[in-house]
Symmetry: C2
Subunit: 439 residues, 2 copies
C-alpha cells in the first residue's frame, strides 16, 4: 500500500499541514505508536483488534463453514460492525449480490435493516433451501438482527427448510444466539473478545461469507499482517500512520469532513465501512471528522463542485487499485468522440482520478492518495488493517476514547421501551417532542 | 408531505433557530418566493425546472418508449443528473436491480461509472436481446456515458442484437447522440431546455425507465404539481420552504453538514440524488452545506455516535413514509427476545426512527422530520419536487448561483487532455503534482 500526502501539505492546500508541523506531529506519532504497541502486547480492549491477523484462525473458520460450502447464496443477518466488514470484503473480492451473479462465487445478500419491503424482496430473491444464513450479533440480543433472524427462520420453516442445517452463528460467549447454537448443535464461531464490532472485519465476523464463497481467507489475514508489520514509530515510514496523522493534522486545521472517494465500484461498501470506523471511533467529546462517502468517477458529477468551491472544511481521500481487469472502448466515427476509441475504461477512470486530484490541488484543496496494488485478498486485508491502524492513531492523537460508542445507548433504550421491552425513561421522552409542523 | 421543524428550534437544539429569527427569515422567504415565481413565469434558466410537472408530456414519453415495453431489463447509461433521477424514481417505486427482481417490473440497472469490472458484471447480468438501453446525455459528449454506450453497443452487436432497435436516447437538441438517433431513426426524447441535470428528474431524463416499467408517470407528475401548488410566500404555509429555510437558518448558525437519513431502503438513491442536488447547487463561493448520505435504521449502528456526540456542525434530516407494507415478527420463546414477537418490522423501524430523533433532541442536536404518506408515484413526485424547491429557496437566501456548476469544468478538461482529446493546460498541471509518498 502506498499513501501520498503531498497534496495535503500547507504549501499546496488550505487547510494543509506544513512540513515543520508534520515533523513535530511525528513526535506524537512515535508516542502514540508506543501506546498502541503496549495495548497490543497486553491484548487491551480495542488495541487487541490490531492483533487479529495473527489471532484469527482461518482453518477453524473454513472447517466450521464447510457444511455450507454448497450454498448458492449467502445471507448475512447483522447490522453495523456485524455486517459491514463482511459486506466490504465480499464485495471487494467480487461476491456481493449483483456482482456475485456474474462471478463464480455464491452471491452475498446483506440483511442489515428492518425495512419490511426490503426483507420481503431478499426472501423472495434467495433460494432458501440452498442459502447459507450467517447471523452475527455479539450480544445475541441486537433488536434489528434478531427480529430479522426470527423472520428468516420462519420463512425457512414455511418453505420446509431445516434452518438449523443452513445457519452459521457468530456471537459472543453467552447470550440467546449462543444458547440457540448450542441447543441445535449448529456451527458457531466467536466474535473475538476485546474487539469492537467496527474493528472486527479480520475475524469470523467479517470472514465467514468470504470463506463460504471460497475466497482466500489466509490471504486476507496475510495482507492484514503485512500492514501490521509496517507499523513503525514514524509517519514517514508507515503508510497507515501517514494517513491517520495527516487526517488528524488537517482536521485540526479545519478539515472537519473526510470525503472518502474510492475509484472502484467494488470498494463502495469499503467507503461505508470506513465511515462507521471513523464516525463511531472518533465522534465523541464534541470532536471527530465527519466521513462523507462518495464514489469515483460518478460523484465528480455530483459532489466535486462542492469539494472544490464550497467551504474549506474537507479532506478528500482518493482510493484506487493500481491494476484492474480492463475493457477497451471501441473505435468510433461519431463526431467528437474519436479520442475515446482505443483507450480503455480503466484509462478513462485513471484519467478522471488524476484529473480530479489535480483539480482539487489547483483550487488549493487538500487530498490524500491511497493506492493498493489490486483488488485481491492480500491487498484488501492490508487496506482494512491500515485504515483501522490509522483510526487508532488518530484517536491517540486526539486523545479520545476510540473504542467505545456510548452515545448510541440512549436511542437503543428508547426504542426498546417503545416496543414494550421494559420501562425506560428515554421512551417517555419521545412523547415530549416539540412539534412545529408545516403541511 | 409534512415537515416538522420543531427539533431545529433554538429552544431545543444548538445550533438551532429561534422563533424570532424564523419570523424574520420568513420575510426573506417571501421575497425569495417572489423571485422564484418571476423566474418560473419567465421560464428562466433553472427556475424553469419548477415548471416540469406541468411541462413534461407523460403521453409523449409513454408513446416513445412503447416499442421497448416488452423489455425484461432496463439499462440506464448516464452519470450524475442524467442517472440519479431515474435511479431514485425507479428504486422508490420498487424497480431497481435487486428490488425489481422481486417485483413485476423489469429491473433497472444503472451504468453510471466507468469501472471496467462493473461494466462487465452488468453486461453479463442483463439479457442483451431483451434489454432496453436508456442512454442519457444532454451534450451527447459526456466521456463516461459515451464510452459506456460504445461498449454496450459493441456487446449487443457481438450478441447479434440490433442495438438501434433496443435503445432510447434522451439528449439535447443537437450533438452526437441526437445525430445518431436521427440517422438510425431511434426513439428519442428531449432533455428539457433551461433545466440543469440535477433538477431534471421529473422530465424524460428521470421518467423513461419508470415508463418502461409501467409505473404511473402521470402520478409522479401530479405529485410534483401538488408540491408546486403548495409553494407559498411563507415558510409556515409551505413544507418545501420550511425545509429549505430551516436548513439555511441552521447552516448559518453552524450546521455545515446535512445528514439525510431516509428510513426506507427504497429511498437509498433518494439520499444520493439529494446529495447531488444540495452539493452542486449550493456548494460555491466558499459556501454550501455538505450533504452526508445515510440510511435508517442501519446507520444508527454507524453514524449516530458522531451525530449525537461529535461536533455541533450537523442538521439531521429524517425522512420516512408513514405507511408501508409490513411483516410481523414471529413470537419466540428465546430468552430476552419475547418483547419483539408480535410487533412488526415496521413497528421496529418506526420505533427506531422516533428513538433516534428523540436521542438527538436529548443531546440538543437539530433535526427535521420529513414525512410522505407512502412510497407511491404521487408521494415520490411530491418529495422530489419539494426538495428541489427547498434547494432553490436555500440558494436564494444564500445569494448563490444555484443553477450552475463551474468548478467541475477544470477536471473535465484535464481528463480529456490526458486521454488525448486535445490540448488543455489543465492536463499539464496533473504532471506537476507534489508527491510525498509513504510506502
Amino acid at each position: 500500500m502506498q499513501v501520498d500526502i503531498g497534496n495535503a501539505l500547507a504549501a499546496e492546500a488550505d487547510p494543509g499541514i506544513s512540513r515543520d508541523a508534520l515533523a513535530r506531529l511525528d513526535e506524537d506519532v512515535a508516542r502514540a505508536h508506543d501506546r498502541i504497541a503496549t495495548g497490543r502486547a497486553g491484548e487491551e480492549f480495542g488495541y487487541a483488534a490490531l492483533n487479529l491477523p495473527e489471532r484469527t484462525d482461518a482453518a477453524e473458520i473454513e472447517a466450521t463453514v464447510e457444511p455450507l460450502s454448497d450454498a448458492e447464496a449467502i445471507l448475512t443477518v447483522g447490522i453495523g460492525g456485524s455486517a459491514l466488514g463482511a459486506a466490504t470484503i465480499s464485495e471487494a473480492l467480487g461476491g456481493l449480490d449483483t456482482e456475485g451473479k456474474a462471478a463464480d462465487a455464491a452471491p452475498l445478500y446483506v440483511l442489515d435493516n428492518v425495512d419490511p419491503a426490503h426483507v420481503r424482496e431478499i426472501l423472495t430473491e434467495v433460494p432458501l433451501d440452498r442459502t447459507a444464513v450467517n447471523v452475527v450479533s455479539r450480544s445475541g440480543t441486537t433488536a434489528e438482527t434478531l427480529s430479522n433472524f426470527l423472520v428468516v427462520r420462519e420463512a425457512m420453516e414455511a418453505a420446509g427448510v431445516d434452518w438449523t442445517e443452513r445457519t452459521v452463528v457468530t456471537t459472543g460467549e453467552a447470550g440467546p444466539l449462543r444458547e440457540l447454537a448450542d441447543r441445535h448443535d449448529m456451527p458457531a464461531l466467536d466474535v473475538p473478545t476485546g474487539v469492537p464490532g467496527r474493528f472486527s472485519a479480520l475475524s469470523a465476523v467479517g470472514l465467514v461469507p468470504a470463506a463460504i464463497q471460497g475466497h482466500d481467507i489466509e490471504g486476507l489475514l496475510a495482507g492484514g499482517q503485512r500492514a501490521a508489520e509496517s507499523l513503525a514509530p514514524s509517519l514517514f515510514d508507515c503508510p497507515a500512520y501517514a494517513y491517520g496523522a495527516v487526517s488528524y493534522g488537517v482536521a485540526q486545521r479545519g478539515a472537519d469532513i473526510n470525503a472518502v472517494v474510492p475509484y472502484a465500484e467494488r470498494l463502495e461498501f469499503f467507503a461505508e465501512w470506513f465511515a462507521q470506523l471513523w464516525a463511531e471511533s472518533l465522534g465523541k467529546d464534541g470532536l471527530g471528522q465527519t466521513p462523507a462517502r462518495a464514489l469515483g468517477a460518478t460523484d465528480q458529477h455530483s459532489q466535486l463542485q462542492l469539494y472544490r468551491a464550497g467551504p474549506r472544511d474537507k479532506l478528500v481521500t482518493m482510493v484506487r487499485p493500481r491494476e484492474r481487469a480492463d475493457r477497451t472502448i471501441p473505435e468510433t466515427d461519431i463526431e467528437g468522440l474519436s479520442y475515446l476509441g482505443g483507450s480503455t475504461l480503466g484509462d478513462l477512470l485513471d484519467a478522471e482520478f488524476e484529473a480530479t486530484e489535480a483539480s482539487l490541488a489547483a483550487a488549493d484543496r487538500p487530498s490524500v492518495r491511497v493506492e493498493i496494488d489490486r483488488l485481491d485478498a492480500e491487498c484488501v486485508g492490508e487496506l482494512l488493517y491500515a485504515m483501522e491502524a490509522a483510526c487508532v492513531l488518530y484517536g491517540e492523537l486526539a486523545n479520545v476514547s476510540t473504542f467505545d460508542q456510548p452515545a448510541v445507548e440512549w436511542g437503543k433504550r428508547a426504542a426498546r421501551g417503545l416496543l414494550g421491552g421494559g420501562e425506560f425513561e428515554e421512551a417517555a421522552a419521545v412523547a415530549d417532542k416539540t412539534e412545529l409542523v408545516v403541511e
